[in-house]
């Protein structure tokens, strides 16, 4: 049988199947449309997703408000007494916000301080590394496709896997210390000294998520018309001039999206760190989400109210960042 007759056969087969399916769907939807009218059909389509969204997102969000304004250790909202803003007051009961020990909920303010430092450092390093990597991968280098895959690969790994792998590398008797000892050097407290742990937490999270942002920036770089660089080259512009006067201004909308997205993700950081350091040493790498998780779930005295109040405060920060992202996108479109 020739190739053409094969194609025709497949077209006929799949055409028949498709026609059968469409006829069936048409019959089904047609009768529903008669019942609810043409205007009701779109709502029918979004209904399944809306139900799932309502059940797993909206309802828990509403419950979160209930928990935030109620107290006690009971699980069911009905059994929890209304306490007004007491949980929020507890979180904000502080003599000096910069000295966590002066606060009633000192762990919350430690988590806030850790998160602020982490977000600033991680986003700065992440965006810088992603930009440099994107610039390199945008050039015509050997094995470009391979390197693009290599940088993106960590994004495919589960955060828990990333955390555990790096824990095995960096723990006291881990791979890196083994190498150091093999080289005649002394063991380093990578995960048991606060400064080292903070450093590695940032580096590991940058390693794990850099590929994603590199890809966005790479797309941004590839959308810059090449004739602009050719014109600049004819005018005798140096590489730096071309970068600062062409690349950066035209890449700015993409950069803004990358910065805002990475900021949101940095504020939400949890899984990697939980598996990697567990928030230690002490509370040096305990961030906001872990504080909420600990208070709500692992603490022997379940403090759902305080955890819910803290999560609402974090949500407020995330809403501001999301609005900034939306504004940045609008700017990019126009």
């Amino acid at each position: 049988m020739s190739k053409n007759s094969h194609n025709k056969l497949f077209q006929t087969i799949f055409g028949s199947i498709a026609h059968g399916v469409i006829s069936f769907v048409d019959l089904f939807l047609g009768s529903i449309q008669k019942l609810i009218g043409i205007k009701g059909v779109p709502y029918l389509f979004v209904l399944p997703n809306l139900l799932i969204f309502g059940l797993f997102i909206l309802y828990p969000m509403l419950l979160n408000f209930v928990y935030a304004f109620t107290g006690g250790s009971a699980f069911f909202p009905d059994n929890r007494p209304y306490v007004g803003t007491r949980n929020f007051e507890r979180l904000f009961a502080c003599e000096n916000f910069l000295v966590p020990n002066s606060c009633t909920e000192d762990l919350f303010w430690r988590a806030v301080q850790n998160t602020v430092v982490y977000v600033i450092a991680q986003v700065t390093i992440l965006v810088l590394f992603a930009l440099i990597t994107a610039l390199i991968l945008n050039r015509k280098i050997k094995w470009r496709g391979f390197f693009r895959s290599v940088f993106f690969y960590p994004c495919l790994l589960s955060p828990i896997v990333v955390g555990l792998i790096w824990q095995w590398i960096l723990q006291d008797k881990g791979l890196l210390n083994g190498i150091l000892i093999g080289l005649g050097m002394s063991r380093m407290p990578f995960l048991t000294a606060a400064t080292w742990a903070r450093f590695w937490v940032i580096m590991v999270s940058v390693w794990a998520s850099m590929g994603f942002y590199t890809l966005i920036l790479l797309a941004g770089l590839q959308s810059i018309p090449s004739d602009l660089y050719e014109a600049a080259s004819i005018d005798g512009a140096s590489n730096w001039k071309a970068f600062s006067n062409i690349t950066m201004p035209l890449l700015m909308p993409t950069m803004t999206v990358v910065i805002v997205l990475s900021l949101i993700r940095a504020v939400q950081v949890f899984e990697i760190i939980f598996a990697f350091t567990g928030g230690g040493p002490g509370t040096a790498t305990m961030y906001l989400v872990q504080f909420i998780y600990n208070y709500g779930f692992t603490s022997p005295n379940k403090q759902f109210g305080v955890a819910a109040a803290a999560s609402l405060l974090m949500a407020a920060v995330l809403i501001v960042l999301t609005l900034a992202q939306m504004a940045a996108r609008r700017e990019e479109v126009y």
Binding site: D172, A194, T277, G280, P281, G282, T283, N294, P300, N301
Partner: protein, 456 residues
């Protein structure tokens, strides 16, 4: 060729039309193999026929088919021991099916309380945090055949803590494991008689230095284990009225000693500084990287299995101090929940499990100390001929009479677990340099007070 194409088209058209046509036309065809299954499973169908004679016995009208869910975490070989017992129970009690959900301890610790609170809990479970289920356990006394025997066989404070809704299935005692081989290699004799924590610190330090061992001494990362040495130094964690008091000279003394272990590198930093969960020093001990590990009787199985004959180990008598001995009592309990739909069946299973022969089988096979008075008095036939294991069991049994009262009451205190977890995290903060000793003690006291206030 055309004939072939037409044939294929015919088949596909038939398939499509078949798919689009009303379902009943195709159903018999699809379900044909399913029809065969009941034939294969005929013996199952026969069961009710076999059970029919039961109708003739008017005395057993209550035997209805009930299903009990039993959430169980197993330490050591208990998983292999509980399964045959459950099968034996089901064989003896037709109509009662027990579904054993084997879960890790973390599930018992974190998820079970929420499941029970939400009314979605199992009928029975094996737990360690007694206080959290206050008022939620099934009082077994009206349901078991001999409530006097039930009460007589277990310590009253434990039964009261459980609301008589279960029984302790083992007794645990904290105490230190020592690497005897390292002592021999260092040419240092194991101390005899009463020895303080300071003396053990010095001895293990000498052994570690002499043998090039990484760490001299360690203690599990939990307030439960810390409480013992602190009490031996005079700490009174629980006062006469049952209140938790952290700030005592004995508590300070041991925390400062712990800090010195940490600062001098006698104890692995990772043991207390990483994570916010229970870390065990036994992992370092088993690999001969630690001379002495302060943990408890539940580790005997693991040490015996993992160390093998790699080195000789021994459980030494607990260090003592001005306050008395170091040991802390603890253990797990099997409980039935009050909202079970089958209280009689649940009580029946409980009665079966604490029957002396079954209880002894679990204790003997699991190498655990019995909390059942009758079993303890009769003596347990431990399933091991390893001298170090038997010696360890003897050593822990010898600790029981030395326990301080507060060391027995700690684990059944309603807020024991608030103290355990919070103290581990606060002490870790102190060791990491985030808090001073004063701040650590004040914050820990505040954590426990808050837990009590929230609970009320």
């Amino acid at each position: 060729m055309k004939v072939k194409i037409l044939f294929v088209l015919f088949i596909i058209t038939a398939f499509v039309l078949g798919a689009c046509s009303p379902a009943p036309v195709e159903e018999p065809v699809v379900e044909e193999p399913v029809v065969e299954e009941p034939v294969v499973e005929e013996p199952v169908v026969e069961e009710p026929v076999v059970e029919e004679p039961v109708v003739e016995e008017p005395e057993e009208p209550a035997v209805e088919a009930v299903e009990l869910r039993f959430m169980y975490y197993a330490d050591g070989p208990k998983q292999d021991l509980i399964l045959p017992l459950i099968e034996k129970f089901m064989a003896e009690n037709e109509g009662i099916t027990v579904i054993l959900d084997m879960v890790p301890y973390q599930t018992i610790d974190e998820q079970l309380p929420i499941q029970v609170e939400a009314g979605q809990g199992p009928d029975l479970a094996r737990i360690t945090n007694f206080a959290i289920y206050k008022g939620k356990l099934l009082d077994l006394r009206p349901l078991v055949s001999n409530p006097e025997e039930f009460e007589a066989n277990f310590a009253t404070p434990i039964l009261e803590a459980l609301g008589y809704g279960g029984f302790p299935d083992e007794y645990t005692i904290t105490g230190p494991y020592v690497n005897q081989t390292l002592f021999e290699q260092a040419g240092i004799d194991l101390p005899t008689g009463e020895t303080t924590w300071e003396e053990w610190t010095e001895l293990t330090k000498q052994v570690a230095e002499a043998t090039g061992t990484d760490y001299a001494i360690g203690i599990d990362r939990t307030g439960h284990r810390v409480a013992g040495p602190a009490m031996s130094m005079g700490a009174t964690l629980i006062d006469d009225e049952g209140n938790f008091t952290i700030d005592t000279p004995g508590f300070r003394q041991f925390i400062e000693l712990l800090k010195s272990w940490h600062d001098e590198g006698l104890m692995p930093n990772e043991l207390w500084l990483t994570g916010d969960a229970l870390n065990n020093c036994i992992d370092w001990f088993k690999t001969a990287d630690m001379v002495m590990c302060m943990t408890g009787s539940w580790q005997i199985n693991g040490v015996a299995a993992d160390v093998g004959d790699a080195f000789d180990w021994v459980v030494v008598p607990n260090p003592t101090g001005a306050g008395g001995s170091t040991g802390i009592a603890g253990g797990a309990a099997v409980v039935a929940f009050a909202d079970t739909e089958h209280p009689e069946a649940a009580a029946k299973l409980m009665e079966f499990l604490y029957a002396p022969e079954n209880y002894a089988a679990l204790s003997g096979g699991g190498l655990s100390l019995p909390a059942h008075r009758g079993v303890a008095e009769a003596g347990v036939d431990y399933a091991s001929d390893i001298p170090s294991v038997l010696a360890a069991l003897d050593a822990y049994t010898a600790e029981v009479p030395k326990l301080q009262d507060q060391a027995v009451f700690l684990n059944v205190h309603p807020f024991a677990f608030a103290y355990y977890r919070n103290s581990a995290n606060r002490i870790a903060q102190y060791l990491a340099g985030e808090l001073s000793l004063e701040e650590m003690i004040a914050n820990l006291q505040s954590d426990i007070d808050t837990a009590i206030a929230e609970s009320n």
